[in-house]
Structure formats: structure tokens, C-alpha cells
């Protein structure tokens, strides 16, 4: 690890001041990702600002829905009675990620900010536009079995690793952010970015901003929702494909469906075409299949991940069936 100065912040304002004073500083939440990146010399901060003592742990119901403190641990969030009973899709998604030990450490804000696990991003001897802009993408013609089928460019084919964020995408969450002067709210669809020509930018935060909370509007998905994850081993592995699905039903007719996919793109992939197809249609396997096909039309495979297209289609159908079953 590169030497760094360790300082602790006592409140959000102080933390933001500390970060804005040093372009090479970084926040430390749970540390489960950044510490690993520092050991690999992928992240090279010269100053670590410990934000573990900030009072941003509260999980609560609000007038419009629910608020998750940015520094509440993943375990606490997944197990909170409010979340388990009202947002089971989110509990399941969090519990599908990592291991019990890591969920005990990882924070909600940090989960959103974790970086891709693309092995070329981690290997500092290889070109990678995300790590070193302009150096090229090694995965494009390399081992890209785990990589993207949606929204990738020749600059970057990496996928975003979080499970939690896939559910948050389907739940239309908003990320509450504080900076030097003010607060701002970023809709989830605009929080994470597609690679475009700037894969080094994972999200729309600026350097001096701190995620303080994640807000989720009220919804009726608790009765009919699911999170399905397909991976190389049955636990403690990143998704090949995952799907978060929530159905709002009137009788057997879908009023609207919210669907997001993980493991397929540089950000949680909102399955808007499938959602559009399902709106107003009866909740049947035949319709689920057509919706999944509509979504997968735009998928573009790389040399080693063609299987993800069929897997994506089937996982979409599976998740919708499970959501229907309740």
C-alpha cells in the first residue's frame, strides 16, 4: 500500500471539507473494496478520511417512503424490520451479495460506490481505460466471460458488481448527496453511468461530495417481488446475471412492473422495454417470455459471454414468475 495519512471526521461538513482540501484523499466507510484496491495499487490515495463515526446510520420510514443512512451497514439494512416487510426485494438483493462478514462491514453508501471486479482493472500491468484513461481495454478482446452485454463501448466492457443497487434501481431510489454548499438528490438512473468515452467515471458524484442517504419511495411491490441471482457458485460469487422484479397487480393484470438487471452492464440495467411490454397485460408466463425477449433484443455479446443473452432471458422470466407467486 502507498503510504497515506489517516484522519477521522466527526461530522459530514468536516468530512466534506477534508475531502475538498485534497484531490488525492478518499473516504473510508466499511473499507471492503477500497482497502483491497489500495493493496493492489489500483487506488492510491495519500490521505484516508475515516467517516465511520459520522451519524448517518439511521434507517427510517419517511412521509414519502423510506430512508437508508449511507453509513448503515448492509447487514443491518437487510435485516431491518421496515425493509424486510416493505422492501423484501432489497433485503434479498443485499443478502445475495458478498458474505456475512463483508455485509457486516460494508455500508450502504459504499456499496453504491464499489468498483468493477474486472480482472484487468485490478491488474496494474494491463491496459485499462477505467484505471488509466487512454490505455485501452484489455477485456474487449480478452477473457470477457463475466462482462457486459448491454451499454458497453470499445472503451470499456466492465460490469458493475453490486446486487443491492439492482434492487434500488428497480425501486426508483434517489441518492441524497451533500457537498460544500448544499444538498442534492440524484435519481438512481442518473447516479451510475454507462462507460461512453469516460469509463474512469463510475458515477455522477464530484470529488467533494458525500452520499448521506438513499431514499426509496413508497411502493406496493412487497406482495409481488423477487431478486434472482445466477452465479458460478451458489453463494459468495458475483452475478453472471441477476434480476430484481416487482409487479403491481390488479387481479391478474399488471398495472406496471419495475425490473432491473445486474451483471450485464456498467450500471444497474433498467429493463425498460420489458416493463413497457408488460404494462396492462395479464401476468402469464407467455407474456413474461415476450417481455424478456423484447428486452434482450438490444443485447450484444462479446467473444466469451454469449451465454448471458439466453441466461438473461431465462432469469427475467424466472424472476417475474417468482414475483407473481409472491
Amino acid at each position: 500500500m502507498k503510504p497515506f495519512k489517516f484522519i477521522s471526521a466527526t461530522n459530514p461538513g468536516e468530512a466534506i471539507d477534508m475531502l475538498s482540501n485534497n484531490a488525492e484523499a478518499a473516504f473510508l466507510g466499511g473499507g471492503t473494496n477500497i482497502l483491497d484496491l489500495m493493496k493492489e495499487h489500483v487506488a492510491l490515495p495519500n490521505e484516508i478520511i475515516d467517516i465511520g463515526n459520522l451519524k448517518l446510520q439511521e434507517i427510517k420510514a419517511t412521509a414519502t417512503g423510506f430512508s437508508l443512512g449511507a453509513l448503515a451497514k448492509n447487514t443491518e439494512t437487510a435485516n431491518h424490520s421496515l425493509i424486510r416487510s416493505n422492501l423484501p426485494m432489497l433485503s434479498k438483493a443485499i443478502l445475495a451479495g458478498a458474505s456475512a462478514q463483508i455485509r457486516n462491514m460494508a455500508t450502504n453508501g459504499g456499496n453504491l460506490l464499489q468498483r468493477t471486479r474486472c480482472s484487468y482493472f485490478y491488474d496494474i500491468s494491463m491496459p485499462c481505460n477505467k484505471r488509466m484513461p487512454g490505455s485501452g481495454c484489455s477485456a474487449l478482446e480478452g477473457f470477457n466471460r463475466m462482462h457486459a452485454i448491454f451499454g458497453w463501448t470499445e472503451n470499456c466492457v466492465a460490469v458493475y458488481p453490486s446486487d443491492m443497487a439492482v434492487a434500488l434501481s428497480a425501486l426508483n431510489a434517489t441518492v441524497k448527496v451533500q457537498n460544500n454548499n448544499a444538498e442534492r438528490y440524484i435519481p438512481f438512473k442518473d447516479f451510475h453511468l454507462l462507460p461512453g468515452n469516460h469509463p474512469e467515471k463510475d458515477n455522477s458524484l464530484t470529488h467533494s461530495e458525500l452520499v448521506t442517504a438513499i431514499e426509496i419511495p413508497k411502493n406496493n411491490f412487497a406482495a409481488n417481488s423477487a431478486y434472482v441471482k445466477v452465479r458460478d457458485r451458489s453463494s459468495y460469487a458475483f452475478a453472471l446475471v441477476s434480476v430484481a422484479a416487482g409487479l403491481n397487480l390488479k387481479g391478474n393484470v399488471i398495472q406496471f412492473a419495475n425490473i432491473a438487471m445486474g451483471g450485464v452492464a456498467h450500471k444497474p440495467w433498467r429493463a425498460l422495454k420489458a416493463e413497457q411490454f408488460l404494462k396492462g397485460k395479464p401476468a402469464t408466463t407467455a407474456n413474461f417470455l415476450k417481455a424478456a425477449e423484447a428486452e434482450m433484443v438490444a443485447a450484444k455479446a462479446l467473444s466469451h459471454n454469449k451465454f448471458k443473452i439466453e441466461m438473461g432471458r431465462k432469469t427475467l422470466v424466472n424472476a417475474l414468475e417468482l414475483a407473481l407467486k409472491g
Partner: protein
């Protein structure tokens, strides 16, 4: 420190005054040291000492004064962080490099080598310890963040000469082969008992919407909840049997039999 006033000859004084004026006072007050000697050598090799032949000759003949080691001073390191925390019910105070992980601090500074460094990247669970009641990975925890916290390692589980029931169950069921992952497995399993009692959900929970209540863990639940601890010897069936015995308190038969 020893007072050291060096008396220079007129020739030496002239040489320092002309060629190394900034060092003159230092030499007079603290003596002719190794650094001055080296600088003088540099001047000699540059041919600058020719007109100071006598002074230079005298200087090279001088004994270089070695600076004395000062009185003992506290350990000082760059980016040091002072931490006071509790390890296995004992208060510890250590000064660590900011980069030091909790795992390295336990092993290298406190001498508790039970927690193991397997992958050092949060992928194997061999370094699992219990911090403030929660199982965490000590390889991905900076020691600097442990101020005021309470850490339990494998060394802190037994009471006097009596093993923790989880340790005894691992022994009975042979929940290991090489044993490298075992301290992490056992710390993880001990913390799991509390999680199950609190009714925490896992990905294997059939319906997370149901209210949390104490859970008796099935094989599938144990496998899911222990997935952060890898055993490359593959002792998983025995680990599951051990955890079941520790949780139920029942006498569960081993997965293997002694032969005659």
C-alpha cells in the same frame, strides 16, 4: 549530549571559511563529523583543495567524530496512529503505521497468530474475528479504525481450560483437515449463533417478510451463512455437523466411523 567544541587550526579555519562557510559554525560547535568529511572528499575530487593543502591534510588526518545516540526516545513512525482497544478482554495500546490492518496488528504486534492470513483480499475468511459482536474480516479492517473497539479472536473463545462449545464440536466432528481456515471458521460460526438467535435473514431464508425469530439452522442455511469461509480441504460436511451440534446442544453422530 556531550559538549563538543572543536578547535580548528588557522589553516583549517581558512579552508572552511572559504569553501564551506555554512558549515564553519557547526564544525566549531559540534565537531568535525562524517558529513563534513564526505563533503571535503567531494571538494578534493573536484580539485578545489589545491590551495588549501596544509589545512586539508590536517583535516583528513582528524578523527571523525561520531554523533552519540541520544537518550532513549519513544518509537516514531511516519503516518503513525495511536490506538487503544480491547483484545480478548485485555486493553491494548499500540502505535501502528496507518496502513496496518487489524490482522497484521493482531499477528505481528500483539502476538496473537491464531487469526490467519489466507488471501489478504477478503475472499477466504481465514482472518475472521469478532469486532463489537460482529464477525468481520480483519484483513480488510485498518487497525486505525479500531480505536475503542472490542475484538475477540480464536485465542479469546475458551474460558480458562474449557473450550468454547464450538471449538469442542469442531474437534469432535473433525471440522478441518489442515486447520488453516479453522480459526476463521470457528470465529465465524460463534458469531453465527448470535445471528441465528436474533433471527437474521439470509439469502436462503424462504420469506424475508416474516418477522424475525430465533432460527434453528438447516444444512442449507449453514452452508449459505458460512459461505464467507472457504475450506480448501473440503471439510464442509464436518463443519456443518459441528455447527449443528453446537447450536442444538444435541449429540450428533460424526460423519465418519472408527474402524477396528
Amino acid at each position: 549530549m556531550k559538549q563538543n567544541k572543536t578547535r580548528l587550526t588557522p589553516e583549517e579555519h581558512r579552508l572552511f571559511g572559504d569553501l564551506m562557510p555554512e558549515e564553519l559554525d557547526e564544525v566549531i560547535n559540534s565537531g568535525f563529523n562524517r558529513r563534513h568529511f564526505i563533503k571535503l572528499m567531494g571538494l578534493a575530487s573536484a580539485g578545489l583543495l589545491a590551495s588549501y593543502a596544509i589545512g586539508a591534510e590536517q583535516l583528513f588526518a582528524r578523527t571523525v567524530e561520531i554523533e552519540e545516540i541520544p537518550d532513549l526516545i519513544p518509537e516514531a513512525i511516519e503516518n503513525g496512529v495511536d490506538i487503544a482497544f480491547n483484545v480478548n478482554a485485555t486493553s491494548r495500546k499500540v502505535l501502528v503505521d496507518s496502513r496496518m490492518t487489524l490482522l497484521d496488528t493482531l499477528r505481528e504486534r500483539i502476538g496473537l497468530t491464531g487469526s490467519k492470513k489466507g488471501c489478504d483480499h477478503g475472499q477466504c475468511g481465514a482472518c475472521t474475528v469478532i469486532v463489537d459482536g460482529q464477525r468481520v474480516l480483519s484483513c480488510l479492517t485498518l487497525a486505525a479504525t479500531c480505536q475503542g473497539k472490542s475484538v475477540i479472536t480464536i485465542e479469546g473463545l475458551a474460558k480458562a481450560n474449557e473450550l468454547n462449545p464450538m471449538q469442542a464440536a469442531f474437534l469432535k466432528h473433525d471440522g478441518f483437515q489442515c486447520g488453516f481456515c479453522t480459526p476463521g471458521q470457528i470465529c465465524s460460526a460463534v458469531a453465527l449463533m448470535k445471528e441465528a438467535k436474533e433471527g437474521q435473514a439470509s439469502f436462503a431464508t424462504k420469506d424475508v417478510r416474516a418477522a424475525a425469530k430465533s432460527i434453528m439452522l438447516s444444512d442449507e442455511e449453514i452452508a449459505e451463512r458460512m459461505s464467507g469461509n472457504i475450506c480448501r480441504c473440503g471439510a464442509y460436511p464436518n463443519i456443518i455437523a459441528a455447527i449443528k451440534e453446537a447450536q442444538t446442544g444435541e449429540n450428533i453422530p460424526q460423519n465418519w466411523l472408527f474402524t477396528d
